[in-house]
Each structure stands twice: as structure tokens, then as C-alpha cells.
């Protein structure tokens, strides 16, 4: 057989093979969410992107090898409850054509490593976005632009309501709060009731001294008991115990937050508010401050005069705002439960936007952050950080 005849005789078979390969190659599948390496808990929206030159019959989604759902129409996505277990999970998506062609993609998500060494270089920003006064909850990673000292950054991790929460409930239990104890207990309980099983909290009740605290735990009963069994006494030392809380959160992972309830009239701290501000700038935790009454009244003490105390108050407010948290002012004790609930809701609705700063120097200098949302909207996050 001459080479030419060989070519001829092989052609139909080769052409068939090439056609089949072309059809297969046309089904390009990519899992858009969740992202590889991210922790995933609870209800998860698995979004699949499919590009094909032929119609797609269906997309099947598998979690750890088990069929979790099928979608027949674009946009292809399947809602899956993966549970609260902190484990690795394999997500796989397979798209099929009516003729039997298919394409697939898979990603491996990772558990949250608690108490382990964290990657200090990754900066996690928690961003609240509002559009027309309402929270925007359907944004994707590509909707965000992050600038660090004006330098654009690549967003490498992204999610919302996915990271477990690590909270310190820092409750002023000074003598002046003794009649408010029950309301504080109810408020804190409202927060605890909203916690997921993967979340953890530490309860710290303070006055001029630490009256009681719990370790970080998901055991809501233990946390509630701590408040119920604590008697209000003494003065107020917000700075000292806020610093302690921020320091303890340094070693934790997840979405870290301090929820402080106090009038903020710090009489007894040894640390100035500037130390707390410094600590907050060097860390990644958010600080929320729930205040009763709201209007700061100047006061003098044996440690500081009116002016110095006013400055302390202003710096505490600055700490809260710079951290990306908020000062929530309530007029009545009855509103305390809602205030705690609102803090939790806001945390749940924040986008976790992570990036590796491409301009980090570790020189302790201030980095101003600017997060923008494409298509408009107001993004609120921490104002910056000290580069340590």
C-alpha cells in the first residue's frame, strides 16, 4: 500500500476521531465557586461555568464523590448543604452534551486551621457594601477593586458568610451597669443565638478589673452562664481590656471581632487609647462598640483631666472606625438585643476579600486602604493598617 492509499484508507477513521475530540474539547467546564483552598461550611452555592460549541444536556455536581445535584439550564449552579464540619471537601462538576460528550472540573476546599500558624501576609478585609441604602449581597470577587496605598491588589480569596466568626464579647460590668445587667445578658444572648456551630466566642466581663471570662468556645450555654453569674462591681477600664481582647484575637483565625458594650468613660485603664489604636492598626480584628445614650460627657478623674479624657474617648472612637467596625448608639436598654443582632447580621453580610499586599515592607508604616465596588455602591472596611 502506497503512502497515499494508506492516507486515504485511514482518513475516515481519523476524521471521526478528530471530530469526537473536537466535540469533547468544546465542553470547557470551570467551577466558579467555591474557590480552591477556601474553607466551606453549610449552605454553599456551587456555580459552574460551561463553554461549549454544542448544546449542554446537564451539569452534575458532586461533593466528595457523591452526586449533590443536577442543573439543566444556565446559569449552572446547585445549592448544596455541605454541613458544618471543618474538613477538606472535593467539589466536582461534569457537563454533558446530548451526544455523550462531557467536560469536568474539580476544586479542593480546605478546613480552617484554628490555633495554627496563620499566613500573616494575607490581609483579609471585611467589606460591607450598600447600594441605594440597602446592603448589596450578590456581588462576586470581580466586583471588587482593592488598592493598598494606592497600589491595585489582586484579590485572591473571596467569600461571604463563609468564614467562621471568632468574637470577643467585651461587656462593661462596672458598678454603674449593675441595673443594666439583665438587659446586657439578653443582648449578648441574642448574639450567641445567632452564632453558627463553627463560630466561637469569648465572654469577657470587666470593670476596673476582669470579673469573669470564658475561653473561646462554641458552647453557648457556657458563655451565657458567665454573664448570668457575674455581679457588677467597680469602675471602668475599657482600654486595658480592649487591648487584651485584640491581643488574644491575634492568635485566632476566621472573621475576628470585638463587640464592646460600654459607655466608654474609661477612668481606670493604665493603657492610653493610643496603645489600643496602635494594636488595632497592627491587627485585623474589627471592633464594634455598642453605646447606651451615646452622647459623651466630659469628666475628670484622678488620672486624667477633662481634656485628656475627651481625647481618650475620641481615640477609642477612632479605633472602632478605623478597624472597619462601627459605633452603634442605642437610646434605650430595650434596644440592646437588636443592637447585638444587628452587629451579627452586619458581620454575616460582609464580604471577606483577601489579598497578598504587593507593597508590604514590614516597616510598621501606615497603609491606607481603598476598596471600591464596580458598578457603584458604598464599600466600608477598615481604613488601613500598620504594616508589621
Amino acid at each position: 500500500m502506497s503512502p497515499k492509499s494508506l492516507k486515504r484508507s485511514l482518513f475516515p477513521a481519523l476524521a471521526g476521531l478528530l471530530l469526537a475530540a473536537a466535540v469533547q474539547a468544546q465542553v470547557a467546564v470551570r467551577i466558579l465557586s467555591p474557590e480552591a483552598g477556601q474553607p466551606v461550611f453549610g449552605s454553599t452555592d456551587v456555580r459552574v461555568g460551561v463553554q461549549a460549541g454544542v448544546p449542554i444536556d446537564r451539569v452534575e455536581v458532586f461533593v466528595n464523590g457523591k452526586l449533590a445535584g443536577t442543573c439543566k439550564q444556565p446559569p449552572y449552579h446547585v445549592q448544596v448543604d455541605v454541613g458544618e464540619e471543618n474538613v477538606k471537601r472535593e467539589f466536582k462538576a461534569v457537563a454533558y452534551t446530548p451526544t455523550g460528550g462531557s467536560g469536568a472540573d474539580s476544586v479542593l476546599t480546605q478546613p480552617v486551621t484554628i490555633n495554627d500558624q496563620m499566613d500573616l501576609k494575607l490581609r483579609a478585609l471585611f467589606v460591607s457594601v450598600t447600594r441605594d441604602g440597602l446592603r448589596a449581597l450578590n456581588l462576586g470577587k470581580d466586583d471588587f477593586e482593592v488598592r493598598d496605598n494606592g497600589v491595585p491588589q489582586e484579590v485572591v480569596t473571596f467569600g461571604r458568610d463563609e468564614l467562621p466568626l471568632t468574637a470577643v464579647l467585651l461587656l462593661d460590668t462596672s458598678e454603674s451597669m449593675s441595673k443594666r445587667q439583665e438587659a446586657v445578658r439578653r443582648g449578648a444572648k441574642a448574639f450567641l443565638d445567632g452564632m453558627k456551630s463553627s463560630d466561637e466566642a469569648m465572654m469577657a466581663l470587666f470593670s476596673d478589673r476582669l470579673l469573669r471570662f470564658t475561653p473561646f468556645t462554641s458552647d453557648k450555654k457556657a458563655l451565657e452562664t458567665a454573664i448570668a453569674s457575674t455581679q457588677a462591681a467597680g469602675g471602668t477600664a475599657v482600654n486595658d481590656f480592649l487591648y487584651m481582647s485584640l491581643k488574644l484575637l491575634d492568635a485566632r483565625q476566621g472573621q475576628r471581632v470585638v463587640v464592646l458594650f460600654s459607655d466608654g468613660s474609661d477612668v481606670h485603664s493604665v493603657l492610653p487609647a493610643s496603645d489600643v489604636l496602635w494594636k488595632s492598626r497592627a491587627g485585623q480584628a474589627l471592633v464594634y462598640w455598642i453605646q447606651l445614650g451615646g452622647k459623651h460627657e466630659s469628666f475628670t478623674s484622678s488620672f486624667r483631666d477633662f481634656k485628656a479624657n475627651d481625647k481618650e474617648y475620641e481615640e477609642l472612637e477612632k479605633t472602632v472606625k478605623e478597624s472597619g467596625g462601627r459605633v452603634l448608639t442605642i437610646e434605650r436598654l430595650e434596644d440592646l438585643e437588636d443592637a447585638f443582632r444587628n452587629v451579627l447580621k452586619e458581620l454575616r453580610e460582609q464580604y471577606a476579600v483577601g489579598y497578598y499586599p504587593n507593597n508590604a515592607k514590614g516597616d510598621g508604616k501606615w497603609h491606607k486602604l481603598d476598596v471600591r465596588v464596580k458598578g457603584g455602591g458604598r464599600a466600608r472596611t477598615r481604613e488601613g493598617y500598620a504594616d508589621y
Binding site: R209, L210, R212, F213, K247, V270, F303
Partner: protein, 396 residues
């Protein structure tokens, strides 16, 4: 004895301003029951707003004094409260004049025999005032002011009439104790006046000087505070609280940092146990931190922790310094260790520093009680009442 009516019970303009304030506050609650009763009559059978005839007031007042002189230390002050609260109405300032006139008449009678009777009578009014404060005074503000003013004016009168050094000491301590009670109930201005008068009677009265200095300190009048604290240290050079407060007030003045640092450094070497000692380390550490001398701050805080290993604040403070000095790991370990310390039971040194500690007036009160007790037989004799049983005491 010649009782100077013009000196007694008149008070200065500030006192009458205070009366006016109290009056307006008391008007809303003027119908309160007599303190110590269940809304009805007390041991004397008096009711609030009861019209007590002048002769009856004198009779009851004499009975109260007789009970006091007989060592009825629980009953007599309560009876006095019942009498004065029944007669003096917040809504009618004139009622105080009625009571004053009748009590004054009795004091004229018993004081004529022996000036020394003024001491136990003053202490009785002091004790009644202390109890009124302890129980709350809603609706009886004017009666409170009356009995406090009686105590003060009797003390001053005793000093003026006696002229002895012993009388100065007794009177000064009574005013000091009253000042402490006023300070405790957040009445800074009357407290300052009381301490000032105490110091005028006895320039070496350390408790009064410290009381006055703390009021100046709290009101950001550091120069006056420093002046009085220097006087404390002239009398008692080793007074730990005086040295600490002087350092703290000097720190708040420009250009006095080195003197403050020296005072605090010297204090950290003191071995005498005192609630104030951990503060010396904390404040010296703070001073160094504020000046950017973090190495010195670290050194002094480590020394402090060695001396006071259970002091939570020294842990936190050292952690903050170490954080800044680039040792976040040790800082975290310190904060975690702080959580293992005994907690919540005792007020912190910082709280005590900013609070009116009644133990600061304990010595003055013991001195008063002893002086009152020793004069009870004289009072009993002046009243024609039986002398007190042996072993009875007065005052707290």
C-alpha cells in the same frame, strides 16, 4: 460657757447655696417617712411633718443626749434622726430654725457646766449624719444638712472656746471625718471646705491634707494638689500615698517629669506593703512609655511583675510595651497568663486610687470615738443623767 450663736449654725454662702440645692431636690420627696421607720412612728413615736412643740423638742433632745451619755450607741443616733427628720421639713426651711433654736437652748444649758460636753454631742450628730448617708436621704435633705452642720459647728465652737491643742486635734479630726463622708457622697465642694477647716485647726492633719489634695487632683487643679501633697510629705516624708499622688500630679504639670520619675523610682524601692505600690511601677512604666523610653519601661515593668506577680495590669502593660518593641510572642504569652490570675475579688489599685477610701479616715474616727467616750460621764453629769455603763463605746 458662752455659746457664740453667730458662729454656730450660720454657715457660709456656699453652705446656704447647698441648702437651696438640697431644698429644690427635696421638695419633690418631702413626704417621705422618717428614716429608720417603716413609714410610721419610730422609737420616739414621732411622725414626719408632726408639729412638735418647742418644749417637746427640748425634752426629746435631752433624752437623746442622755441615752447617748448612757452608752446607748445604737439607739441614740436613731432617736436623733427621728427627732430631726420629724421636725425639719425640706419644704419649709423655717422648720430648721425651730429645731436649731431648741437644740441650741439645750446645749447652752448642758454646756454651761462643762465645755467638754460639746465633744460627745458633736460626735452624736456626726454619727447621725453617717447613718443618714448610709440609709439614703430622700426627702430629708435639710435634716441631713442640719445634723452635719451641728456636728461641724460644735467642733469649731469647741476649738474656739477651749483654745487647747487637744481641742484642735479633736475638732480637726471630726471635720476630717465629715469631709470623708461628704467626699464619699460625691459632695466635693463641701468636702473640700471641711478638709480646709480641719487643716486650719491642725496643720499637720495628714488625712485632711490628703483629702484636700485628692479633691484638687480630681478637679484637675494640680498646682493646689501639689502644694498640699508637699505639706503631707513635710509631716510624713515616708507617706506612700502622698509620694505617689505627688508624682502623679507633677506628671500632669509641664517640666516636672524628672521629679515625678525620681519620686516614682524611689517608691519602687519601698518594701512597706501598701495598696498603692503596684501603681508606682505602673505609673513609672507609663511615664517611660509616654517618653518613648520603652526599654526603661520594660525594665521597670518586669521589676514590678517580680514584686507583684498577680497584678493583671502589669501583665497587660508589659505586653503592650513588648508588642511595640517587636516581641509579640512574649506579649501574647503575658496576656494569656493574665487570664490565669485570681480575678474579680478585689478592687484594683487604680480603682482605690480614684476612690474615696474610708479607711483613710479610720484613724481620725477611732480618735474621735475615744475622745467622745472619755467625756460621756461629763455629759451625763451635765444632764443629770446616770453615767454610762463601763465598757460602752460611741461612734464608728
Amino acid at each position: 460657757m458662752r455659746v457664740r450663736a453667730e458662729a454656730m449654725f450660720v454657715g457660709g454662702p456656699v453652705a446656704w447655696l447647698a441648702v437651696a440645692v438640697w431644698l429644690s431636690a427635696g421638695l419633690a420627696a418631702w413626704a417621705q417617712p422618717v428614716p429608720g421607720t417603716q413609714g410610721g412612728a419610730g422609737a420616739l413615736g414621732l411622725r414626719a411633718r408632726e408639729k412638735v412643740p418647742p418644749a417637746k423638742i427640748q425634752e426629746i433632745y435631752r433624752k437623746v443626749l442622755a441615752d447617748w451619755s448612757a452608752g446607748e450607741t445604737e439607739r441614740a443616733p436613731n432617736e436623733l434622726i427621728e427627732l430631726e427628720s420629724a421636725v425639719v421639713l425640706d419644704a419649709d426651711a423655717a422648720t430648721r430654725k425651730v429645731l436649731l433654736k431648741e437644740e441650741q437652748a439645750v446645749i447652752h444649758q448642758v454646756g454651761a457646766a462643762d465645755l467638754e460636753v460639746l465633744v460627745p454631742i458633736a460626735v452624736l450628730h456626726h454619727e447621725a449624719y453617717r447613718r443618714l448617708l448610709e440609709r439614703g436621704f430622700h426627702g430629708h435633705a435639710l435634716a441631713m444638712i442640719h445634723t452635719r452642720t451641728m456636728a461641724r459647728d460644735l467642733a469649731i465652737l469647741y476649738h474656739d472656746q477651749s483654745g487647747s491643742e487637744g481641742a484642735s486635734l479633736v475638732s480637726s479630726r471630726l471635720l476630717t471625718s465629715l469631709g470623708g463622708l461628704l467626699q464619699q457622697s460625691a459632695q466635693q465642694l463641701p468636702a473640700a471646705e471641711m478638709f480646709q477647716q480641719a487643716v486650719e485647726l491642725d496643720s499637720k492633719n495628714v488625712a485632711a491634707l490628703l483629702g484636700l489634695a485628692t479633691i484638687f487632683e480630681k478637679n484637675a487643679q494640680t498646682e493646689s494638689a501639689v502644694k498640699h501633697l508637699r505639706r503631707v510629705l513635710e509631716v510624713e516624708p515616708g507617706n506612700v500615698e502622698g509620694r505617689l499622688r505627688l508624682a502623679m500630679n507633677l506628671r500632669r504639670q509641664p517640666d516636672h517629669g524628672p521629679e515625678a520619675a525620681k519620686l516614682l523610682t524611689d517608691l519602687t524601692a519601698v518594701t512597706e506593703p501598701s495598696w498603692a505600690m503596684p501603681l508606682a511601677f505602673q505609673e513609672l512604666g507609663r511615664l517611660y512609655s509616654d517618653e518613648g523610653k520603652t526599654a526603661e519601661a520594660e525594665k521597670v515593668l518586669r521589676q514590678g511583675l517580680k514584686r507583684y506577680p498577680n497584678d493583671l495590669r502589669l501583665h497587660v502593660q508589659l505586653a503592650a510595651v513588648l508588642d511595640r518593641r517587636g516581641a509579640p510572642g512574649e506579649a501574647t504569652a503575658l496576656v494569656e497568663k493574665a487570664l490565669t490570675l485570681p480575678m474579680g475579688e478585689e478592687a484594683s489599685a487604680r480603682f482605690l486610687y480614684n476612690t474615696v477610701r474610708q479607711d483613710a479616715f479610720a484613724a481620725a474616727r477611732t480618735f474621735l470615738a475615744e475622745n467622745s467616750r472619755s467625756r460621756l460621764p461629763v455629759l451625763a453629769q451635765a444632764l443629770g443623767a446616770p453615767p454610762p455603763a463601763a465598757g460602752t463605746g460611741v461612734g464608728k
